[in-house]
Symmetry: D3
Subunit: 287 residues, 6 copies
């Protein structure tokens, strides 16, 4: 009995956090190593489902580079990159869309269903959810079907979240003539949080957050301002895959999102840990 | 960190219970020793507030015999009882109403407010919430302003619970000419659960539940049918203050309430323990 | 038959007044001698009920100093006053709350029920209806639980009045930690009219209105501006219990309330007289 | 002042009647001599407007034989009748429609506007409000465009009455091919009351009600059953223009209308007299 | 089969036009020779009905000078005109109202009903739809009941168009005392389009549009600016019955109406031709 | 101009058909050769978009066997069939899901977007849209992930169609444990039409309909009863891919779907031809 009383006490500890987020929108960028572990991903799905049931409106954006590369390799298509961006010809785009919207997206929907939620898998093509235009590389290199976001259909997302549904969004955008475009999932998460003026934006990554010395886990930064981020970008401390994440945070903050976080998705229940503890986890980016 | 992960896991354990009760009504009869302890009552208020935030609609019915007697004594009015029922003359009724609706009721409302909920204190006179008629004692003794319930205004309760409010109800009924009547709080809880076809009705008492040997805590009955209750009443095992509780359960079950419980309100977080564990606590009364 | 035709004509005379107030909110401060007369109070309840049925939204705020003093005396607590304000220690506050919210409030609710209305008795603690802070006396004297209003939960009042209910409000506020505070009922009426931007605010008093010579009933002022009020306060013509009433009027007018009135509640049907005659009764306070 | 208090008392006398009819539909057949008197018609318009403002939903059906005959005469068309029914050729129908829907109907709408109501003038052609078929005379005589009602579009009426509008209906029906038909206004009133399951149906006529001796005003029948009506029809006591009125009552009663009345529209404020007195006026027809 | 495929292709050609107008309001001034031809008017009714079914909200305003003159002549009333305006005494106004609201208006409603629409015939007196004041002639001549528009009750029109109804409006206004006023139908159409901020305003006339040489059909102007109109008015190219039409266009454009058109209503299906072709027909007036 | 008038007349011919289907649901099984032709598929997308804009609620269900086989071949997976059903192991199911939900489904969504509609691509996993159980072959052969439908989430479809969206559904079901199942698209179309009690169900195939002699196009059956279908199945006239189509029709008819059709999707605009002509095209299956 004492054990149960203790557990009840732990539920009660969550109450003030629930009250604060009740009715608010939280955008979660899901990806990285957590997605590859059956156990970790199950726990993340439970976190998201619990949020929905306690009155929060979660929206999930996911990536999937790993599965795309595997499928490209099976189909003997060599992935090409240019300055970290996937050069996406027509055949590659077909594979990207199939894997992202047809495999990973629907699998996440299904996992949320097992956890007890009603999720709906969408991509940018559904009802013009994510409108994009062709991205021009700075050096003039043709990147093919790589897009940058020009608009978000917030009406569809509001309808679904105000109803009983959790939108799960694959980062495929729709161009002016209905063609598909590959977009960075981190960017999509930032744009959606910005467009919905979400309460919170969370990037689940494979490391604990931003470090002042990327190689030293002991240098985790708990809170960082936009100004500091720019300095770290300049001196190379923030680079590579962390760049679109901090850019997503900045975009979101500047559009009125209250809190943005970069955190370790490979810890069990990372979303609950961030939301239901005072200190949170990972790095919080703020104005 | 491990401690937090464990806590998150405990939150997740609650998920299936939350899903089952989401959008449902739970009537809680609050009273007894728990009400007198600042610490226990605070925990119960937290339990009720948490229920509201996870999408359940709690309704609280309370008693208050203790405080009534104290006030009567301060005012030099001698409480009179007849077969366990308070003989309620006009002066006594004034005190009963003042203490129940003006003191205890508003204090509970305030405690729920501290826990973060928006509670509204009501009695049977508000919008004709509990309509009563004068109760006739079997032996013809005039009981004064003691009433039996003839109708519940469910519309008001539905409006409030579907909005953000928790109704807190004092057991004072309104007679055909607008006069006040004293009613048994257990009966009121049963009638309200029945009228709303609630999902659950819980009586918070001072003992663990129904015992087959009232003097032996080891004889707690975990589950009991209406038929068995009638036998226990006949042979005197169920008697006294337990009678209106089991009658409330029976009334509620026969009107379609799914689950009714008699449980120990002096355990910390008794409502969460009953709702968020598989076995529950106390005695479950069923058809 | 002719008598009935004349009566019908009188109903029709009310039509333009009804049209003007249809759908508007009217705040009525109810108190004084009228409250003590069964006959007068019954007529006031009928007035309020009629308003509701012809499409106006009445809100009742009541006082109750008389009953509080009686109960304090029964309990051998000596009322203490400091510059006209009740010094309210914990025990006194308990009695104030019990009498106001548990006796007078529910009795008014019941009388409105007899007149055919559906009233709901509330105090400032219900859903945080009236938030207050401790009032500091100018001379530093500790007044105990005497509060000044810092906020009104208009959402609850709008919900109830747009539905079929008449809110009846006892002047007990809720402090930052959930504790009860005694507040002047006139002030509460003014604050609520201001917060709701009511169409009309009426103070039912025991005299005909403001007099230029307080001792001469023949000097009743039919209409007075805020500027004139300040002069009368300065020269002592307006003082004592009239002060919070005129302050309530001023607060309300400055927040956009169209018309505020101080009138004699001991005339039969004072509310209808004020509303359904061209000249109205009592003193109208205006910008 | 005493005069005003007495007037207020008269308003209060109306309260129980208002409560009883609040939210209910009342169909009023308006016609006869009252319509020709500026003073009487103004009072009736005030009665109807007052009903709307106190929460009742009035619907007005009107006749207009007099004005039709005047216009026919101006146009040198000789009115033809067959067994009391107007034989209506195409030219006559044009005049009937113009006078009823273009003159009388819009004038009533305008008078209600002056009284402060928002009325909408309709005929059976608007949105198929009254669908009719050609009436066959029993003796085979061709009656031209005389119709009997086959359907009422209750949706339009419900929409308008639940909003702020009072429908005013001219007795012109629409045939299967869109052509106009002349219909008896009393019949239309009965059919509309029946289709809407109104609370009350009132025929404003030129005499006090049904008399057991048509020539003796002292033989007014205050209440009559359907059975008794049939006897009076058989023995000729009820005949002529009274026939469609009692038939309208019977049709309405059999469809669930609670109360139907035949009363004198030439008394000032006949509608209020019927509604706001205990005995009512005229003859009440009941099952 | 090929014929049907071609027809389907023609339906599809309409799709982009439907998409552009979906949910928008289109005001159509209906009158002139088209109204006198059974075949042409039937086609116009079909056009309007089709608009409603493809999601556009049409509102019809009609004239009727021809029928008024006929009826005046039958009644031996000599029509009087002063500078092109009908001098309207009381008797004339009666006829104007009867013919417009009782004959033409209800006939159009009926024709729309045959085409499958649910139309409601209204004039300015219904719910105060068109409020007017007496028009003063520049030369001081008393014009009788000739009004100029001072207000439109847009609420009624919005309610009806957002529901399943098509409002059909006769140009009779209501004065300050409820009296009827004759108003120019073109002006009414312009005012209603302006008040509703319609998407489109169309005048169906008897000629193809505005001509730079009124006598030469070959000089039709396809598009004209407000500035050019003023020049044409000055030099007399635009005059007579064309004046209120262009004034209606100007009023509407200045209030935010997107597109206004003057076109030939005697071509079959003129509304569809204007809406569902790229070039449209007639003259488009623009800022 | 004459050409345009003729076109307008053709639009008007569609009016009665639009009126009949307005607000109704039409389920369209899209597949076969039409899907492979850019021109034909574009015309079908236009047909569906036009339906939506004229107030009909289309729902699209699609197949995609061809593309699945191509992708399987690229991945060196040999398709296996057993009695016409695809034996679906885990790897195959992955490909089926990716191609159907990630390629074909989103491409249709995109084509509808180009035609001007807002489509949402779904599969049975989204919010549990199509719940299935493993299908047992009659001869005991394990078919792998081949499912039969046990339930349809109609709530999601109603929400989307009553809003501005067109659901496009891939025939992938969700099993009891969240796993994906391959289902026959024809069956899915029949089940969805049945569950929604659609007005119409249409199968777009590669031939003109059911023929009494499968090899002779001249023997097309225009209308066939369920009884006749059973006879044709027995004698082998109906067999192969036509079987699930007629079974879908029968299932739908028995659940209250009014009209079911098997028609040639390779004719331009087949949906409009079926809906907007009196005779329709193809074979109509009826009770």
């Amino acid at each position: 009995m004492d054990k149960y009383i203790e557990k009840a006490g732990i539920l009660i500890e969550a109450l003030p956090y629930i009250q604060r987020l009740s009715g608010k929108t939280v955008v979660i960028k899901y990806g990285g190593a957590a997605m590859l572990s059956e156990d970790l991903s199950k726990k993340i799905m439970q976190d998201i489902t619990l949020l929905k049931y306690v009155g929060v409106n979660p929206i999930v954006v996911h990536g999937g580079g790993n599965d795309i590369n595997k499928m490209l390799s099976k189909l003997d298509i060599t992935p090409k990159f240019h300055n970290g961006l996937r050069v996406t010809d027509g055949d590659t785009m077909d594979v990207v869309q199939m894997v992202l919207t047809g495999k990973i997206n629907k699998d996440i929907v299904s996992q949320l269903g097992i956890a007890g939620a009603r999720a709906i898998g969408l991509c940018g093509k559904d009802a013009g959810l994510i409108r994009v235009e062709k991205m021009e590389a700075k050096d003039g290199q043709d990147l093919g079907y790589v897009g940058h976001v020009t608009g978000i259909n917030t009406k569809l997302l509001s309808t679904l979240t105000q109803d009983e549904y959790i939108p799960v969004i694959a980062p495929v955008g729709v161009g002016p003539d209905g063609e598909s475009y590959n977009i960075n999932a981190d960017t999509v998460a930032g744009e959606i949080a910005a467009a919905l003026c979400a309460e919170k934006l969370m990037f689940l990554t494979d490391i604990d957050g931003i470090r002042s010395d990327p190689n030293d886990p002991g240098t985790l930064i708990y809170e960082i301002t936009i100004g500091e981020i720019y300095k770290y970008i300049e001196n190379g401390v923030i680079s590579g895959g962390m760049l679109p994440k901090v850019e997503g945070c900045i975009k979101a903050i500047r559009s009125g999102v209250k809190r943005t976080h970069i955190l370790n998705g490979t810890i069990p229940h990372p979303i609950l840990l961030e939301i239901f503890t005072d200190t949170g986890i990972g790095t919080m980016v703020r104005e």
